[in-house]
């Protein structure tokens, strides 16, 4: 079975790169991986010769940190990618084979291929590269395994003991890696990878079943005044990505605050990408850009009973209010501790402009490119690709205001675009309402 999965994945990869542009893109990425590998080798050599003032070990650790972060972030960003069950559990395949095969099917992907080529391109330096390759491959696999362990909590129902053990293991591994124990000797990284592999297998065997995303819990029994909050809390398909976005952002900002206090630098210091994580972007790319897909019966009710998109926007606003309020408080609170003087006016302008932009556009995306949800975290994404792309680009451009005060001129432009988008959504509603109804009725 494992051989079949190997063969199938490789075949599928080649079948998928039929078009000229895809071949060109893959060649380009391959080239980039080699160039970066050679560049890293050069930096390590220079560091070894004492030219750049840092030790080669520090360079290696920095590279490993980046590899781990990128591997890990793939899980969340720009949208959550769930663990794929290769075949249902009732198939007559041993649990170990099933686990190994599903792991291999994930590892045989262009992402891992490019990173392995990157590591292989780092050789031929005067510095002994073997530890680098050892750390590199192990950190690559172990961060992927760590990602899987976390995802087991989100995607599957586990026995309680399994959840507790996995949380302890994850915390332990993070402490080990962060405290540099990982780089103590050559055996340690391999040992961690093996532990994580075994842990993953244990969790796989202790999985009760895949989460039923449509099951609505009855945790809140009282008659709630805020029914919109209840619509979030009692709907796992919406609750999970919103909580995931809050936790992810909290972790990112917490880590950033920690780094700022220790080293006086931010995670992506001086780069616009930093501000992506400070805006409420994740809530929109996860959930709100497809608000009628997540709450289809709310849409049906408002449609049948009012046929008025303004009413739907108001209902959508009430739904978004609580998570965005938490996000605004959290972001403002944490960032005020990790930024320099005169930060607050900038942050308020940036945060609230991006919020208005994303909020208004979420109703345009929900209208023109709704996505039907079968599960919470589906492979094709729970919001449309175009909405993710435009949201990210929009926030990145807005972050230009951090570079120069002249860029503040784009703020009114953003507000104007949002206003136009609002008017447009009201107009588009009459035309697009059937496509939403069609999508929701079909399924």
């Amino acid at each position: 079975m494992i051989l079949f999965v190997l063969f199938y994945k490789v075949k599928f990869f080649f079948l998928n790169v039929k078009s000229f542009w895809k071949i060109l893109l893959n060649m380009f990425l391959l080239f980039i991986a080699i160039i970066y590998g050679r560049l890293s080798a050069l930096i390590i050599t220079k560091a070894n010769e004492g030219v750049i003032g840092i030790s080669p070990e520090q360079v290696v650790q920095f590279v490993m940190f980046l590899v781990a972060i990128i591997t890990f972030i793939r899980m969340f960003f720009p949208s959550y990618k769930p663990i794929r069950m290769l075949v249902p559990k009732y198939y007559p395949v041993s649990k170990f084979t099933l686990y190994t095969a599903s792991l291999i099917s994930e590892l045989i992907s262009p992402f891992f291929l490019y990173l392995i080529i990157y590591f292989a391109s780092c050789k031929n330096t005067s510095y002994d590269i073997r530890p680098f390759l050892n750390y590199g491959l192990n950190i690559l696999f172990s961060s992927h395994l760590l990602r899987r362990i976390i995802q087991y909590q989100l995607d599957f129902k586990l026995k309680k003991i399994a959840s507790v053990i996995s949380i302890i293991v994850v915390i332990g591994i993070v402490i080990v890696v962060c405290s540099n124990l990982f780089f103590m000797n050559n055996i340690f990284p391999l040992l961690i990878t093996i532990i994580l592999f075994i842990m993953g297998f244990v969790l796989d065997t202790l999985t009760i079943e895949e989460r039923n995303r449509d099951l609505v819990n009855n945790k809140i029994k009282f008659v709630s005044k805020n029914i919109y909050l209840k619509m979030i809390l009692n709907r796992p398909s919406a609750r999970l990505p919103i909580f995931a976005a809050i936790i992810f952002k909290l972790l990112f900002l917490g880590f950033d605050l920690f780094l700022f206090n220790i080293k006086g630098k931010h995670v992506f210091d001086g780069q616009l990408i930093y501000w992506l994580f400070c805006s409420p972007l994740l809530f929109f790319t996860y959930t709100f850009n497809n608000i009628w897909g997540f709450w289809k019966n709310l849409w049906f009710n408002l449609y049948i009973r009012t046929n008025n998109y303004k009413d739907m926007i108001v209902a959508g606003m009430k739904l978004q209010l609580f998570p965005l309020l938490i996000d605004a408080i959290m972001s403002c609170f944490i960032l005020s501790f990790s930024q320099k003087d005169n930060f607050l006016p900038f942050f308020i302008v940036f945060y609230f402009t991006s919020l208005i932009f994303l909020f208004i556009f979420s109703f345009v995306w929900s209208l023109i490119c709704p996505v039907y949800l079968k599960t919470t975290f589906q492979i094709k994404g729970s919001t449309s690709f175009i909405s993710i792309l435009v949201s990210i680009t929009g926030v990145l451009f807005l972050a230009l205001i951090s570079l120069n005060i002249w860029f503040y001129i784009i703020v009114p432009i953003y507000l104007f675009i949002a206003f136009i988008a609002f008017r447009l959504s009201l107009k588009l509603y009459l035309e697009k309402k059937y496509s939403i109804a069609n999508m929701l009725l079909k399924n």
Binding site: N234, N301, T306, L430, L441
Partner: protein
């Protein structure tokens, strides 16, 4: 009150309804009959403006169905096949939510919720259960409650009796008969002919993409000489002879 004019509906090359004309006036209870998949639900979804017709227009209270504003929608109550219940809420919260969409005053709304709920549900504590915990029949009843809570002039019901036990179906018939008056109109689709017989004033039979019968219940049953099921079989001939082929049963 409802005018269906030359309505045709097709999904690509598949024609579902062809040149349908129907006029439903005040005081009538119209029942759509027909085989499975003949287009009854499609016709109801067209009236509710959930799908766009390929040709023709539907007018409700004199206005095109796709142009109805909030005040006009207030005069319409509907249960379609998806039921559209917000399952994260309790029965009470859902009815309250629906009532507030229609702008009912809180006191009136509360009274109506308790009245209608206690009529259809034996156990009042069900009102405070999440809808996700309801059985299919309970969901059907709740959807019906939500469609009449604002006392609309036009009531459109897709298969209102399916999934209901005979007792509740009988309660629903009583309710519909009490609800109906000379200013209101009810359009429903159903397969439960014994229930249809108790409420319908008019019958429309859909077959082969068209309306093949459209008249009063008296005409349909030939002034009561035929039972409703045998009257229907006159229009929809079953292929019973094909059963002879099954020599392996």
């Amino acid at each position: 009150m409802i005018q269906i004019e030359n309505i045709s509906m097709s999904y690509g090359k598949l024609v579902v309804l062809s040149n349908i004309n129907l006029s439903i006036e005040k005081g009538q209870i119209y029942c759509l009959l027909g085989k499975n998949g003949v287009g009854k639900t499609t016709l109801i979804n067209l009236i509710l403006d959930l799908i766009k017709p390929s040709e023709g227009t539907i007018k409700i209270l004199g206005f095109k169905s796709n142009m109805l504003d909030k005040s006009m929608k207030k005069k319409l109550g509907a249960v379609n096949d998806s039921l559209a219940l917000i399952e994260e809420l309790t029965g009470y919260e859902f009815l309250y939510f629906v009532g507030k969409i229609y702008g009912l005053p809180t006191d009136t709304l509360k009274k109506r919720i308790f009245d209608i709920f206690s009529y259809f549900f034996e156990d009042e504590s069900d009102l405070y259960k999440n809808i996700s915990k309801y059985s299919t029949g309970m969901k059907k009843k709740l959807a019906f409650c939500s469609s009449v809570i604002h006392t609309p002039e036009i009531l459109i019901l897709d298969e209102p009796f399916s999934g209901l036990d005979p007792l509740v179906a009988d309660q629903m018939i009583c309710f519909i008969n009490k609800y109906q008056n000379k200013d209101r109109v009810i359009l429903m689709s159903s397969h439960d002919l014994s229930y249809v017989e108790k409420v319908a004033t008019h019958i429309a039979v859909l077959d082969k993409k068209k309306i093949i019968f459209n008249s009063t219940l008296q005409d349909f049953t030939e002034n009561g000489e035929k039972k409703i099921d045998s009257a229907l079989l006159k229009f929809l001939r079953p292929n019973n002879s094909a059963i002879e082929k099954f020599d392996w049963i």
